[in-house]
């Protein structure tokens, strides 16, 4: 791996990509507010170019959490491809469910264990949030993606949760991180998008096309 890999994107390209992500998440939040009925507060997204073996450490450091986590994972495949991780602490998961439960009937809990109901509901919400952010990002890059079913992981984030074939030694990863907060300020989580950069040329072109389309160059 050549040591200059962190410069695979120029500063300007990185800035443009960050702006694209910012807009994608902004649009996603607006639509989400409409669909799940919750107001989302977005943070400035963080963009890092990493080597595959640095990903796990980066995410763990950002999470800074040794206690229990609920993680929803989904892989997406288009010209841009990768893995999305929505991370909520146990406390936040329960609070999120109570925010949503107001429109669901309470009868369902008689049929399932609470843990299962929580798990399925968090997974469903995760599917929608991840879908919102990834699809808007793809849309701005003039791409569209297909998804794997969302997977629920409880406990900690592990390197084994990254898709095996996606990150071999020769590819880089562009990791995006954003913190989202629901209107009740106590509920927040992280969204990580780990993009594999197999098709770097395509990504550069997509970024430049975007900048040209909006008259930036």
């Amino acid at each position: 791996m050549n040591p200059g890999y962190r410069d695979i994107l120029t500063e300007l390209e990185k800035d443009a990509f960050k702006e694209i992500i910012n807009i994608a998440f902004g649009k996603a939040a607006a639509s989400l507010a409409d669909i799940i009925g919750l107001y989302v507060i977005l943070s400035v997204p963080k963009v890092e170019v990493l080597q595959p073996d640095e990903i796990q450490h980066f995410i763990e450091r950002e999470l800074n959490e040794t206690k229990g986590l609920n993680i929803i994972e989904q892989y997406y495949m288009g010209k841009i491809r990768g893995a999305a991780f929505l991370v909520l602490s146990y406390e936040n998961s329960k609070q999120l469910l109570s925010l949503l439960e107001k429109d669901e009937s309470k009868d369902s809990f008689n049929f399932f264990s609470i843990a299962m109901l929580e798990q399925e509901t968090v997974t469903e919400i995760g599917n929608i949030i991840i879908g919102a952010c990834v699809s808007k990002m793809a849309e701005l890059l003039k791409d569209f993606v297909t998804y794997t079913p969302p997977r629920f992981i409880g406990g900690k984030f592990s390197g084994r949760d990254l898709p095996p074939k996606l990150f071999d030694k020769e590819t880089y990863a562009i990791v995006l991180k954003t913190i989202f907060q629901f209107e009740n300020k106590n509920i927040s989580g992280f969204l990580f998008l780990v993009n594999s950069v197999e098709s770097l040329d395509w990504l550069k072109k997509a970024i430049h096309d975007y900048m040209q389309h909006y008259g930036y160059e």
Binding site: A16, I23, A24
Partner: protein, 128 residues
């Protein structure tokens, strides 16, 4: 009369894009800042006629910067340009005193309409 324009946004590309979208025939003076705090400093120093403000910024967010600017001059013309176009955000920002909200990425028409509205507002203020 609009001469001095301040653009506050943490993205170089966004600032560049906004400058390019502003009609080139007028003799505007452009000033830039890359976060809310330095944006506020610039505002105090140069007292721009129009401020274009992003919301999601590090150090000090656009919301906070807007409040501070309005404290200094309650008639300051601030146009919010943001990716976050949720209804609640828009309402909040207008209530805090922004003249209008434009969603990113801004189109040429949206920018020129916004400047037109800013011009009319300033003329209205002058007549008082």
């Amino acid at each position: 009369m609009i001469k001095k324009i301040l653009i506050v946004d943490d993205s170089v590309v966004a600032r560049m894009g906004l400058k390019k979208a502003i009609p080139q025939n007028a003799s505007y003076e452009f000033y830039e800042a890359c976060d809310g705090a330095s944006g506020l400093e610039q505002f105090k120093m140069i007292t721009p006629d129009v401020t274009f403000l992003d919301l999601t910024m590090p150090v000090m967010t656009g919301f906070q910067a807007l409040d501070e600017i309005k404290k200094i001059d309650k008639n300051a013309v601030v146009i919010v340009v943001t990716a976050d176009i949720q209804k609640k955000t828009v309402d909040r920002v207008l209530e805090a005193g922004a003249l209008l909200v434009i969603s990113k990425p801004p189109s040429l028409k949206e920018i020129s309409d916004a400047l037109e509205k800013a011009r009319k507002f300033k003329e209205g203020m002058m007549k008082r």
